[in-house]
């Protein structure tokens, strides 16, 4: 499966753990004890950005649009 050049970025200062993103990106995002999203792939010490696979980009765009507190952003890889 090819990786895209996109990254899903979580703004923790806005996130309220409502869980819509974890539903939409089920295999890539889990939830912790308090409902907040957990990135299930990649570096276990840097879990604010999810490197998206090519087939996940559309779903990620949907998650960004539907997040009730606008805590998600789509970025190009290598930013930040």
């Amino acid at each position: 499966m090819s990786t895209s050049r996109h990254v899903l970025h979580i703004d923790w200062t806005r996130c309220d753990g409502r869980g819509l993103c974890a539903e939409i990106l089920e295999g890539a995002l889990g939830r912790d004890d308090w409902g907040y999203p957990v990135v299930l792939r990649g570096d276990p010490e840097h879990r604010t950005d999810l490197r998206l696979r090519a087939d996940e980009v559309t779903a990620a765009e949907e998650a960004v649009a539907l997040c009730p507190v606008a805590a998600l952003r789509l970025l190009r890889a290598g930013v930040g």
């Binding site: 753990g17 409502r18 819509l20 308090w34 409902g35 009730p68 507190v69 606008a70």
Partner: protein
Amino acid sequence: MNELLWAFGRASGVVSLLLFTASVLLGILTRAGRPLPGLPRFSVSLVHRNISLLAVVFLVLHVGTLMFDSYAKLNPVDLVVPFLGSFKPFWQGLGTVAFDLVLAIVITGLLRRRIGQRVFRFVHWFTYAMWPVAVLHAIGNGTNGTSGWFLLLTAAATLLVLIAVVWRMSSRFIEHAQTRRLAEAYKEGMR
């Protein structure tokens, strides 16, 4: 023809109110971050939004048909400025107030990403004002406003909304309330 417009104007008002009731209930469920059987969280959010937009469509039809109905004597001004109407000005004015609130809520909802989360949330809180005002307008201004069947319908809707609001204010409202409260309790205990 006038009879038809008149009937359609009233019917679309009732349908709009019922859809807004469903929207308020789904809105509270959306805020809770909880799914329904067969309806995951993101679907709840989408259905909430779609039903709201449908409610707006019926609201526009309600206001639009009555605008062209000579019996209703509606002016375009009455759409935005309340209490100026010639027929039952107070109760009709409540309709205007509700309509104005809907305009603000829908516009800020559609432009949420552009205007920012804080403005969106502030305006969205007015849904709790819009709904009871719409109900009062329907009872006071509607031709069937005080008919038995309509009052029964309204009572049922009001009961559902009340239950949802009480639940909204309860401590177990959001999904992970328990684990979060445990953590907060420890923090308080440390002070």
